[in-house]
Symmetry: D3
Subunit: 239 residues, 6 copies
């Protein structure tokens, strides 16, 4: 079975905090991966840069954020593509959905990983969800021959938002990322001055590992990422 | 990884209609399986026998139902155990939960499959769910050393009820049972005069296969069973 | 089609506040009705009597509550039966469920009307719901011939609780009770010194009528009662 | 009471699979009906035509789809109107909502039947729901005299989507379509080469009939369609 | 702690019916308040004016509605600002969200009060909710220094819609408005010929007071307004 | 206003992990507090003791657990009462509910804090919720004079379970416990060898503080506990 993972983040750092471990695990098992950063998070999520120099230009922030995310992607070993749609507010329109539809159609992912449907603390995350949802359906079609290229409908997950309970996020898939956790730490280290987030997500990985051990009895899990599936799993085994 | 599947049905035929394919698939991949029939469904679900002879005794119905379920289990190749708790009404009490706790503790399943939490059309199905839920927790404990034997918490699914939407059943796991479907048909054939149910569940398997194909693009799926997971999946791959 | 309405209230006054109009409408169209009062509400809901005389006996309260409810039932024109199960706390056990099962089996209602599933302000209402739910299923069975008498499964509604939103109550059926509202007023007048509740439920009937007019455009509705169905409607017309 | 049924489908075949029986029943009882096809489903749902000839033009597909749907409507006996909004992606904008508002205002339906709110397998169905929801509110207004024509708010149902549980579809109204099922079969036969869908929906009608019999005890139901109401029912009888 | 209340209503009378008491209470405790009327409700909610004279112009209706709302605001003692976005249909676009973002950023409210997320009886209320939700997030940002002014995220409530259960409205905050109820009555009196709504909302205030007394035991509450919080409460006391 | 906090834990350590900060804050503002430990958690949650000596008696475990919880309560400064109902399985019956009803009636709490309604990882926590729910209603009655003592209905919260999302726990109240966090740390230190839980809950307090800061902008919050209210808040201010 083909293994291709597409990660779509609203801002350029989202893929690191929320799914760097899952991407690294996918690469570890030989999968092909691609990260899409819809924006640089240049206006709303670049606090450290604006604090350093409130007079800097938006463009200069983008350049820095681009470099940081590229380094993080490199350390994990995944390609990354930047769409530069702008943030706070991100604007979604028919052309952008079409752009994303083409990206999905070209990459033909077997799994897509993106934001949760709801996020009362972030205006851009639900838009990224909606754009992904629509582009995924338009690229895979109705499951019958059609006027356009149809790919097999990718499996589809939401990664963990900042305040999960308030986003209606209920994790149903815990990925053991113990074997690749050092790569995630290294990738997080490139994310500028946000050392508090590095601690925050390191701790989250140990908490989710605690949960995963309690759920499964698998005592060897040290670090985990939690996701929520958006479509059923089709398999040939109950185990 | 150990593969042990425990199926718990309220009435002696439930495991056939709702999970014979999943059991056969588990056996196909070398798993150990066990079916528990909490009752014979002797009062409420033996329509064909009571119609034949309204004066027959409850005990005689149990004997026939036992034989039918045993034959169905044999054809699938799974052991089955009958607890004879009575039906319509089934009564759950602390002793019965303890009995079930011991069965789970002794068998040490990695997966449990039982009824859905809610069923507005059946008084016994939700009781079977509750007894299983409680016994599963009592046998696996709090995940720390304790005063009693602790097993690893089994994964836990609900199989499909008769009117899924009205039972709050949302399938999230489709098992491709194409390779073993003949066994399910053969097992269903032993379930007395209920040929209409055989047709009903054959058709259901094709419908769920249609859904599974639409979800996944896997065109080779001809028959499927749908289940709903009750606890998250802990894994080391997103694929 | 046979029209038989069974109303089951936890306390002897519930049927008046929550469904007197619906009962009177049913009688108006020639239906047979029966009210079951599981208890007299003698301990928890007889405030006016305990305030008058804190030293009176529980038995004397029951006598008064029986007489009040009987008069209310008479004015509406419906038989009423008192089970005297006790209140605050009401105790439900297997014998009581069996008693209720027999009542349902004997009366063979086409519609049952009772409390809502949840009520965070009343300990007895959800128990009445549970007992009714279980007895209804046990009297109607699995829809196949069985060891016991089977009636056709009655349609089943919850009537309106005191704080609907906090009870998860979402009305989906508004009954226009304008033509019989005087009977409801007269019945409420028998409910002792609780004149404030008479005002409360008169006003509720006008509010629900306002809602019913907004929903349907039927300007002639002056008074309404709102219920929530618990099972789907089976019909041969979409109108 | 006036009986006027408006059916709004995203693609030109939706009304056949999901509601041909309900439309035929409405006509049987003397109602006036109108079907609106928002698009021809020419790009995403015309698999058989694109498979026959991948080089054919979108316009030629529309012509064929128009003719098929017209024949199906004729056999049922209902007028049908095609809006040709395009599919995959369907685009909804203020002008189109206004167009639909005028259609609703002119026809003055008492019942509207359309798609479900959610459909994770189809990008156009939820858009049809949203457009209908908005147009219905704009045509019926706030229930007070206003600057524009106000109709009585139509009753409003969703018909059954392809994977009901995953669309949040919970049927609460089952229509017995036994007496008109032959018409539905004849209408489905015009839907091109999709004989597999004819079988699929024939079987669905027998399954929903099985459910309807279990719910109601009405043994005479052979075929049924299931819908979900979007607004409460206002009536003068509980039966 | 700064106390600043911003009330955002879709139509110019919404703030009176749904929150006049809460605004007056806020003023009573020294808070600063501001009401935003997104439209005059000139087309859909000015029934009395259109009935008087069906030929009057939309502009003349706006003038009257402006004057009425201004007088109501004056009697309560709150500033009010009219955005004149139009109603039935209200149109929300990026510019309007930006306008609202600036208003929020300038006023720096500690609490925002607006419509509920869902309202199946009104096309404009959910749009007001969405615009407020988005503008609130854009004005408060991600909680880190950014390219634009960031205010502390305001607490955020929905006030009560007309048919609460059908709007998914579950009140979790009851405000005792007994001490200012006369002001609400006086404000309602300015709302033209809609005396039936004055009665309706007076009665609603007594009903919500009844609920508040039952919930809390606070017998002194005579009138109350009920709201639903949209974000958690952060406090230093459990009492 | 009287301030009395009652905390009810299924096992003797629950109050420490989940609410020691909230209790200490209540004491800091002069409230009266009482902790009820329904059991010692002697069988299921005393891992460290059973690991030390698998042959020790259940009674000896209880003695140690009693002493640990007493010391933790002492350091916080709250009385604690042990009901010794047994764990794994905890058994709830009418007598025990009555016992708890008397405790609530005697203490007359203004706030009750206990477990969440659902916990798929613990068999005893939901039972503690149910017993508390029922006892609370029986002690406060229907809000009218009655045959038994009636207290004002206490406000009622659930504290945070171990895996919040899987327990349906949505925090809506964050308590800033920064000023008393040292006491919580000291209390946790008495909980035997479970140093990993001390770290776990210290980290949780910083995470919940992070969330509280993001929600409110209150930068001074260093440690927080999160709870979920079970009944609405009745207040005279929106701030």
């Amino acid at each position: 079975m083909k293994k291709k993972l597409l990660v779509i983040g609203a801002h350029s750092a989202d893929f690191v905090w929320r799914s760097a471990g899952t991407i690294a695990k996918a690469l570890e098992e030989g999968a092909e991966t691609l990260v899409i950063a819809l924006s640089y998070g240049e206006r709303g999520e670049s606090g450290e840069l604006w604090k350093e120099d409130p007079k800097r230009s938006v463009e200069s922030v983008k350049v820095i954020r681009h470099a940081q995310a590229q380094k993080a992607a490199d350390i994990i070993g995944t390609p990354i593509q930047f769409l530069d749609w702008g943030d706070y507010p991100m604007i979604i329109n028919d052309e952008r959905v079409e752009q994303l539809t083409h990206i999905i159609g070209d990459f033909e992912p077997t799994v897509i990983l993106t934001h949760s449907e709801k996020d009362p603390f972030n205006p851009d995350h639900p838009l990224a969800f909606q754009a992904t949802q629509r582009a995924r359906l338009l690229s895979s079609g109705a499951g019958v021959p059609s006027a356009f290229k149809n790919i097999d409908p990718p499996v589809w997950y939401s990664f963990e938002p900042h305040q999960p309970e308030l986003c209606g996020f209920v994790p149903d898939t815990f990925i053991d990322i113990s074997s690749v956790f050092e790569k995630k730490v290294a990738a997080m280290a490139f994310m500028g001055a946000q050392s508090y987030l590095k601690d925050y997500y390191t701790e989250l990985a140990t908490r989710r590992a605690n949960h995963a051990r309690r759920i499964s009895g698998k005592k060897e899990i040290k670090y985990a990422e939690a996701h929520q599936s958006q479509v059923p799993r089709v398999t040939n085994t109950i185990f």
